[in-house]
């Protein structure tokens, strides 16, 4: 069918973009990364404590507090959506995990018999199967996140409600449910496997905080999914031109439900990790974290209009926010300035990108 070419195709009229005009270098993520490096240098001269091992570990730990959830939200933002319910989901998943763990490791409570029994002395609680309690409680926490994600996705993709309104409602619903199940009291993971739980969530592996390792693994997985699978390609297509995506036969509804589920699961996992760190899941945990998470994603180059974003940007955004917070403390600036500065940076990052694309 194809006619052979008389001559190979030439590009006399079409120039090739230079290396610095494409890819990372031309993206907002690139600029913000540059700004971050500059900030590190400045901080190093301003405070002798900044580049100490202890402080860097502290920074790594603190930004991991929101970074996994930011990865999830980045997926949603790439499709042109938004998820305001992440803070509530963090709290709810953490609560469910710690409540389930306590419930099934307390002999005498309904259901606990399957998981634990009392030792001969009548006091020590022993798990029937090692690891099972941990697994069941974490799955319970992720399970509720999954349900929230499915409901979000269903309302937005199938019923066609606006993502902002749907997830704003879900923010309130899930936070409310958290208060209902806990009666407003915080809970903390207990029982024979609580120690495993703390090790998994706040332990140190090869000198690195465990959550940081989870973050790196998830970020790499996200990069592969976004750039090397058809699901990822469809996520970008939906964000770039949803109508076009539908016309080419992409299952837009499935893609959208998928990303809200991913986002909720990431938030749930993040909540469970925070819970291990704090040693408890208070009912007001992660309140207004959704704003930090979205701010970090946007600073890192995720475009709220859809079509752009990635794991590197999400992490860079989180690190930048944390370094600024940390830096202000070290520089002994009144910590109330922090929020103001974060706001300025959000606008500046987007402004620089706008100026650049206007010049191009």
């Amino acid at each position: 069918m194809a006619t052979p070419l008389e001559s190979p195709i030439t590009f006399t009229n079409v120039g090739k973009a230079r290396w610095w005009q494409s890819g990372l270098f031309a993206s907002q993520t690139g600029y913000v990364l540059l700004a971050l490096v500059a900030l590190f240098v400045v901080m190093n001269f301003t405070s002798p404590y900044f580049l100490t091992e202890g402080n860097i570990q502290n920074v790594a730990k603190n930004f991991s507090f929101i970074a996994i959830a930011t990865l999830g939200v980045t997926f949603v933002i790439i499709t042109g959506g938004i998820d305001l319910s992440v803070g509530s989901v963090m709290c709810f998943s953490a609560m469910i995990t710690s409540m389930v763990m306590t419930q099934i490791s307390t002999p005498g409570l309904p259901g606990a018999g399957w998981f634990v029994h009392l030792a001969g002395d009548g006091k020590t609680v022993i798990a029937n199967v090692a690891g099972l309690i941990l697994l069941v409680s974490i799955l319970a926490g992720l399970g509720v996140a999954l349900i929230v994600g499915l409901v979000n996705g269903f309302c937005i993709a199938v019923l066609g409600l606006s993502p902002f309104v749907t997830t704003l409602g879900m923010l309130s619903i899930v936070r409310g449910l958290g208060y209902v199940v806990s009666n407003g009291r915080g809970s903390f993971p207990s029982g024979p496997e609580a120690d495993y739980f703390y090790t998994l969530t706040s332990g140190v592996v090869f000198g690195l905080p465990a959550p940081f390792i989870y973050l790196v693994v998830l970020a790499v997985a996200m990069a592969v999914v976004l750039h090397h699978t058809s699901f990822g390609r469809h996520v970008f297509a939906v964000g770039g031109n949803e109508k076009a995506a539908a016309l080419t036969g992409i299952a837009v509804v499935r893609v959208k439900i998928g990303i809200y589920v991913i986002c909720a699961l990431a938030a749930g996992l993040q909540g469970i990790i925070i819970c291990g760190w704090l040693g408890s899941a208070p009912a007001n945990m992660a309140t207004s974290y959704e704003l930090n998470v979205i701010a970090a994603a946007v600073i890192g180059g995720a475009n709220l209009a859809g079509g752009a974003g990635g794991p590197l940007g999400a992490i860079v955004g989180c690190v930048l926010l944390e370094v600024i917070r940390n830096g202000l403390v070290l520089a002994q600036v009144n910590s109330y300035w922090q929020q103001t500065l974060v706001g300025v940076i959000i606008i500046a990052a987007v402004l620089v990108d706008r100026l650049r694309s206007r010049m191009a």
């Binding site: 069918m1 070419l5 079409v14 297509a237 031109n241 992409i250």
Partner: protein
């Protein structure tokens, strides 16, 4: 070159197609034959029934009356995907491209090539870029597979949209106002793209308001007015003046 019109095998054949939306009669008794390698211009004023006809052929909705034959077989489309599956592609006016993706990604959107890596199916970027470059070559378009669509000219965008139809080896390509919003030089490019499709035996239906374009590339022109086919003439047997008067209704039929 394939002889148009009265050649024995039609790729598309419409018989008595009619469509009502409630009390509104959008189409009435339309008969049409399109042969392989033939370029048919579909003209008419706004509301003449062009888009309705295109949407019926593309499977967006079924006709109220009449039958569609494709490659000699009667076909019924429930969804646009059904029409695409048997070889009918539409290049939409707004081109249906995702600006933030590369040319190659757009060509393969929704039917990406993959290679197996253990349990995972990963995108085969190399194969897709190579095939896309081949398609752009066939279309004589200077388009790089790795360039982002948002940085492209109107002509290049058309090439990407048309390359997509070549990927599936479509037998009928319908183009909705492909020259409406682009510069003169790019119009030239698009018209030559249509010639390339014709050379490869693809039937093309060109829906356009632009008389010069229709007369430049089409073998035949079909004029619609008030939901009916008013004329169906070989380009050589008609003139822009006659077509204009058919469109406006100054001349009832020809």
């Amino acid at each position: 070159m394939v002889t148009p019109h009265d050649a024995g095998l039609a790729v598309l054949e419409l018989k008595g197609i009619g469509k009502e939306f409630g009390a509104i009669r959008a189409l009435h008794g339309v008969d049409l034959r399109v042969s392989p390698g033939e370029v048919v211009g579909l003209m008419g004023d706004n509301g003449a029934g062009k888009s309705t006809l295109v949407k019926i052929i593309a499977g967006n909705f079924p006709p109220s009356h009449g039958e569609i034959r494709f490659d000699g077989k009667v076909v019924h489309f429930a969804r646009p995907i059904d029409a695409r599956a048997i070889g009918i592609e539409v290049v939409y006016q707004d081109l249906a491209l995702a600006d933030n993706l590369t040319a190659a990604a757009n060509v393969f959107l929704g039917r990406e090539l993959k290679r197996k890596l253990g349990p995972f199916a990963l995108l085969d970027h190399k194969a897709m870029a190579a095939r896309a470059l081949e398609l752009f070559g066939e279309l004589r378009s200077e388009t790089r597979p790795h360039d982002l669509v948002k940085q492209m000219s109107g002509g290049q965008r058309q090439a990407v949209a048309i390359a997509r139809t070549r990927l599936s080896n479509a037998k009928l390509v319908m183009m909705d106002e492909p020259t409406a919003a682009i510069s003169v030089r790019q119009v030239e490019q698009v018209l030559s793209l249509i010639h390339r499709l014709k050379e490869q035996g693809v039937a093309v239906m060109l829906i356009s308001h632009r008389m010069p374009d229709v007369f430049a590339v089409c073998d035949r022109v079909v004029v619609m007015r008030r939901g009916e086919k008013r004329a169906d003439k070989a380009i050589g047997d008609t003139s822009p003046e006659e077509v204009t008067s058919l469109i406006t209704g100054a001349k009832e039929a020809a």
